[in-house]
């Protein structure tokens, strides 16, 4: 067991452990905070896979953006007074069976598939390469992404503004 293995198991443990807290915690605020552990753990996994730019993007967008947005929504909709003890829609047991079933099927598939033996890519800074790809091969999706983001921005403003009656 080398040092990189220990680091991998540590980071994976953090990510999966906090994902478990997200799924099993009864308090939505605890879930939202545990999601931060998952996002940071996933960013660490990106770094162990040599994706330095994506690790930084993950921290900036997920932890700095989406998570703060989620916490805002939790605080705005969560009334301290009403304690929701039961917060399940599908029963707990069927949901557990479905997730374990999905996990079992896919873990068998992963175990049986022949993934080939390609050498891992060498670790090098990825930012210049990604930038070049975004402006050459993926320029159309890139432009579409900006349109999607603009539409999302306008829609979010439209949905959440106060109604002004004439």
């Amino acid at each position: 067991m080398t040092v990189s293995d220990v680091i991998f198991y540590l980071i994976a443990g953090i990510a999966v452990g906090s994902a478990g807290m997200v799924a099993f915690s009864r308090n939505i605020v605890h879930s939202a905070f545990a999601l931060m552990g998952t996002f940071l753990g996933v960013a660490g996994l990106y770094l162990t896979l040599g994706a330095d730019f994506l690790g930084a993007v993950q921290v900036l967008v997920y932890v700095g953006g989406i998570l703060v947005l989620m916490l805002f929504a939790v605080m705005l909709t969560h009334r301290i007074g009403d304690v929701e003890v039961s917060n399940r829609s599908v029963g707990r047991l069927p949901a557990l069976l479905i997730s374990i079933g999905v996990f079992g099927v896919m873990v068998t598939a992963i175990g049986q598939a022949n993934w080939g033996s390609a050498e891992p890519a060498a670790m090098s800074p990825t930012t210049p390469g990604i930038g070049e790809q975004l402006l050459t091969k993926y320029v159309l999706p890139f432009e579409l992404a900006s349109v999607v983001l603009l539409a999302a921005l306008i829609a979010a403003v439209m949905l959440s503004r106060k109604e002004i009656r004439e």
């Binding site: 080398t2 990189s4 293995d5 991998f8 994976a12 999966v16 994902a19 478990g20 997200v22 799924a23 939505i28 879930s31 999601l35 998952t38 996002f39 996933v42 996994l45 990106y46 896979l49 040599g50 994706a51 994506l54 967008v61 997920y62 953006g65 989406i66 947005l69 989620m70 929504a73 939790v74 705005l76 909709t77 929701e84 039961s86 917060n87 399940r88 829609s89 069927p94 949901a95 479905i98 997730s99 996990f103 896919m106 873990v107 992963i110 993934w115 390609a118 890519a121 060498a122 390469g129 990604i130 790809q133 999706p141 992404a145 983001l149 999302a152 829609a155 979010a156 949905l159 959440s160």
Partner: protein, 101 residues
């Protein structure tokens, strides 16, 4: 030695937990949290295959688009949740059964 399968199993664990979270929550925000878990699991797969499949940037660029869509989805989803909360005064997805505003 950590290989591709290890990353796939970690991502699968995140995916299963996300599915469980989506299925069991009554709270609309809890469902959104579960969806974020599922999207992250998909992203780990993209990066892992990109790394163990001989490099190249295709997987990473796709992951960037997934992150972009997740951000848009979170913004719209939360705006809708807040809108629902304004008109129903709850975000329990089982209590929201009227289409008429």
């Amino acid at each position: 030695m950590v290989g591709l399968e290890h990353y796939l199993v970690v991502s699968l664990l995140l995916f299963s937990l996300g599915i469980y979270c989506v299925l069991t929550r009554k709270n609309a925000l809890g469902i959104l949290l579960g969806i974020e878990l599922v999207l992250n699991a998909a992203n780990i797969n993209y990066i892992a295959f990109s790394y163990y499949g001989g490099g190249g940037y295709d997987g990473q660029v796709f992951a960037i688009f997934v992150i972009m869509l997740a951000a848009a989805e979170a913004a719209i989803g939360l705006a809708i949740v807040l809108g629902i909360y304004r008109s129903f005064h709850t975000i329990d997805v089982e209590a929201i059964d009227r289409l008429r505003g």
